[in-house]
Symmetry: C2
Subunit: 241 residues, 2 copies
């Protein structure tokens, strides 16, 4: 099954000025299409750090998604960092430069020209809108930090990442986690490949624990669910979804 790492780049996240809503979005989307996100890493706008982490993630996962560090200013270092990760130079892409000149006029400053700069040999995937294309180097997909731009670009590329989705069942339980832990352990012994999550809720009156049962095999998760429901007493279950 395809795996992915997400690399969030930006001092503004680490300093608490901006909340990263891109990695939750990507996690949700990728889960839906069956790609396993194995790691999310947030790092500062430092060229060497970006380069070494992109390299490490690219070697470890099928896909790497970067978020942030794209733009004309001093702290926009992602393009250079991804290039360095693969020992590539950066170059001004002719098509991007034309687009840029049509928007900003013919007299581009050095900073403005940065917007047309990509790692040498990068692929550009057209988004179906006026925005810049998605830049791809090897298995690294370079997304902007602005959420609207990231979403638009992800949607336009989503079909490339199809995996096998999980089937998810939710069981809302009216018991404390400590009261059902033996039942859960017995369930996992019988269904060792079940992906089982147990999430206590406080300040919630109708249930105390949300259990999630997942598998890529619908039949397997259904059998596990049946076993769990048989093991829990009727009064213990708030609802099943």
């Amino acid at each position: 099954m395809p795996t992915a790492g997400i690399l969030v780049i930006g001092n503004e996240i680490l300093s608490g000025k901006v909340t990263d809503i891109n990695s939750p979005y990507l996690c949700e989307q990728l889960r839906e299409i069956g790609v396993d996100v194995e790691r999310i890493l947030t790092i500062p706008d430092v060229l060497e750090t970006i380069a070494s982490e992109v390299k490490a993630m690219s070697e470890s996962y099928d896909y790497v998604f970067t978020s942030g560090g794209i733009g004309p200013t001093h702290d926009d270092l992602t393009i250079e960092g991804v290039a360095a990760a693969f020992g590539r130079s950066v170059e001004v892409d002719a098509k991007l430069e034309r687009m840029l000149r049509s928007v900003l006029g013919d007299d581009l400053s050095e900073g403005q020209l940065k917007l047309a700069t990509v790692p040498a040999g990068a692929s550009l995937i057209d988004s179906d809108d006026k925005w810049f294309p998605l830049v791809v180097v090897e298995n690294v997909y370079i997304f902007p930090g602005i959420p609207e731009g990231l979403r638009r670009k992800f949607e336009s590329a989503r079909d490339r990442f199809e995996g096998v989705p999980y089937v998810l069942k939710r069981v809302y339980v009216k018991r404390h986690e400590t009261e059902i832990v033996e039942t859960l352990n017995a369930l996992l012994e019988e269904f060792p490949d079940l992906v089982l999550g147990s999430y206590p809720k406080i300040r919630e009156s109708s249930y105390r624990v949300l259990l999630t049962l997942e598998s890529r095999d619908e039949n397997y998760v259904q059998r596990a669910l049946d076993r769990l429901l048989a093991d829990l007493s009727d009064g213990a279950i708030h609802k099943v979804e």
Copy 2:
């Protein structure tokens, strides 16, 4: 200045079922008291991964904050992982066990006893409420994943992490980022130690870019601000905070 790494532990984050609101909270709090967060890493509930990442972060930063993986069930592996990171065993803490028996009764299951288990030699910091104390091993602070619990425990320990806070100035600019990039580069040349952020906003009518100027030296940031405001034309500024 003190540095920190945040380690978020939990499949539920990576699979998009739960949004991590703990690391944004910690980043904001730590920034306020002047501790530099250098990395946020989210990993699955896998013992070896927890152990190796705790070890790496503990060696790299002054403080490590873990979030999640605390509880009675199969996927609660943080205590064991932190112990393994330092080559320690785990042990049942006598005081915690007493607290647990007073709540759950004398007949504790193995899963329930996990709640009283800590890495050998851990320090326990009392929170000023009925909740379990904060468990500390070396420079690693072990927080629960439930946001209410994390916040309560952080507040009770906050005084331990005092650094030197940054002074932050915000300038809201009515120009595109591409129009002010040369001004920003000139500013950084004159004030190389300035922490300067530039964040474009779309779908915002009153300004186009938020600039953040930061330094731990109030005088330095004020001089940089004065220079920036002198360099930008009056009509370019929406407001300064």
